[in-house]
């Protein structure tokens, strides 16, 4: 069978591999972004008792390799939870580990973006009698979001690429699917090129959406004259 024939024969495997890649990256990006923004907020505004554990978390996760985080979740957290009757499947473990990595990155991005906004704006908000939530949601966050977006797109594409780590705990995502096809059909270079192309397309889509969103956000902030 030629390479193209084997690809057609393995369409289902490749589709399910792509689905696992997309699912794990998508959930990691969503969960990681929401929790990362919350953590970044805590890093900026919480008192030191809350700030300290968050800082510790962010520094530890950012300071260790993704593979170590993944193995820690899969083997140690999985073992610990098993005692309570909770079974962490490889896919769920992978999503937790990727989300943890994404959250730590987004927390730092959020902290940096919020702290880059001049203190005077918060003071001005207070001076005209706005509450903290009003200052945060109407003045600070819309500006911070514009700063966060470009590096966030970078983090999101890293998550898609990082999902290949999940192959090591047995999640049949694109890389493991390619390895399985190589094992049966040879043609390693062709299969790796094929999944490389799929990854490139996925990440191009994220970059395209990010650019659109960035345009939109900067448009609004320009209209309001805040930026």
């Amino acid at each position: 069978m030629s390479f193209i024939d084997t690809v057609f024969a393995a369409t289902n495997s490749l589709l399910s591999g792509a689905l696992n890649t997309i699912l794990s990256a998508l959930f990691a990006i969503i969960i990681g972004t929401i929790s990362g923004i919350l953590l970044g907020f805590l890093l900026c505004y919480a008192n030191r008792y809350f700030r300290f554990p968050v800082r510790l978390y962010v520094d530890i996760i950012r300071g260790i390799p993704g593979l170590v985080t993944l193995f820690s979740v899969y083997f140690f957290l999985g073992y610990f939870l098993q005692g309570y009757g909770i079974d962490l499947s490889p896919l769920i473990s992978g999503i937790i580990a990727l989300s943890a990595m994404c959250a730590a990155d987004v927390a730092e991005l959020t902290r940096g973006a919020l702290q880059s906004i001049p203190q005077g704006q918060t003071e001005a908000g207070k001076a005209i009698g706005l509450r903290f939530d009003q200052i945060f949601f109407k003045i600070l966050f819309p500006q911070a979001a514009v700063h966060i977006l470009p590096p966030w797109v970078n983090t999101a594409t890293e998550m898609v690429k990082g999902s290949t780590l999940l192959s090591l705990i047995g999640v049949s995502e694109l890389l493991l699917t390619a390895n399985q096809l190589v094992a049966t059909n040879g043609n390693a270079l062709s299969y790796y090129s094929l999944i490389g192309l799929i990854f490139f397309l996925l990440n191009s889509l994220i970059q395209f959406l990010g650019a659109r969103l960035e345009k939109r956000l900067t448009f609004f902030t320009r209209i309001k004259g805040d930026y």
Binding site: G170, Q180, L181, T184
Partner: protein, 293 residues
């Protein structure tokens, strides 16, 4: 303000106590959980067997054209499921990379591992092995269009002072194995057998040291890409790995495997052997048990 600070202090102290508590108890799982039960009982209660295996090594464990997990290791898992439940489908396969074989057992993710696992003294200190269910040999696979056409040519090149690189699957004694095959050869170790083939496809290595069974399969399936160098050696036994200390489970598995190779259930093993190694084994002799011949 003072009250708020005291509350904060209490929260911090409580958090510290909880953290210390978890650290001191080693974050251990509760003793009444499922972990302490004998494996055979756990499998019976659960209603299916959980087998750790791979998905990237022909003919041991791989995906067929329809994406179904098949192979000799998969058949072994089915033999055990048949022995427990009388039903070869009562088995769930957990796909794992070779380096997750021992961790997955030790963290109770699988009941048993059938993943072309070589029985070695180093591994026996960590996990228990069943009796062997296959004796594998290492062979050398060469690219059809490569520099060398046989093991003799490789030996001659090494003797002439040329550098020879042999790709091999990462294992306890991979470096030692390469030296035993061809003294002085450089070993490139990879985490997956697929990468070993990739290494010879892309000329990173002159030859790949892989299981003879895989070489025979690949050389027959794709003669335009791979040839068998003719080297065969380094016998090694493949056994099923289990957690240590559960003698009931270990005895059970040994009994089932022994019976499937030499006794009443020989057809299960013989059929699997014929399907994946292309050889029809004889019916076990009547009289003195086959293993004592």
């Amino acid at each position: 303000m003072k009250i708020k600070k005291s509350i904060q202090k209490i929260i911090v102290i409580l958090l510290a106590v909880v953290t210390m508590g978890s650290v001191l108890t080693g974050c251990s799982a509760p003793a009444n959980g499922t972990i302490g039960k004998p494996t055979l009982q756990k499998v019976l209660d659960r209603g299916h067997l959980i087998v750790g295996t791979g998905s990237t090594n022909v003919p041991w464990h791989f995906k067929d054209a329809s994406g179904k997990l098949v192979g000799f290791d998969i058949e072994m898992g089915k033999i055990i499921a048949t022995a427990i439940f009388g039903d070869p489908t009562k088995v769930q396969f957990v796909e794992q990379s070779p380096d997750a074989r021992i961790p997955n057992l030790l963290t109770d993710k699988v009941d048993i591992t059938f993943q072309f696992m070589t029985i070695s003294p180093a591994r026996l200190q960590k996990v228990a092995f069943s009796i062997p269910y296959y004796t594998e040999g290492i062979g050398l696979i060469l690219p059809t269009g490569g520099k060398y056409k046989s093991f003799k040519e490789l030996e001659a090149a090494k003797a002439a002072g040329k550098d020879v690189t042999i790709a091999i699957l990462q294992n306890v004694d991979s470096a030692k194995s390469v030296q035993e095959i061809l003294k002085g050869a450089k070993d490139d170790q990879y985490g997956d057998q697929g990468l070993v083939y990739q290494a010879i496809d892309s000329n990173r290595a002159d030859a790949g040291a892989v299981d003879l069974s895989s070489i025979m399969w690949l050389a027959s399936q794709q003669p335009d890409k791979y040839i068998n160098s003719g080297y065969a050696g380094h016998p090694q036994n493949y056994g099923a790995a289990m957690r240590t200390g559960d003698q009931i489970w270990i005895n059970f598995i040994n009994g089932v495997l022994l019976d499937s190779m030499t006794g009443a259930t020989y057809q299960l093993y013989n059929n699997a052997y014929a399907k994946y190694f292309g050889v029809q084994l004889p019916v076990p002799a009547i009289g003195k048990p086959a293993m004592f011949h």
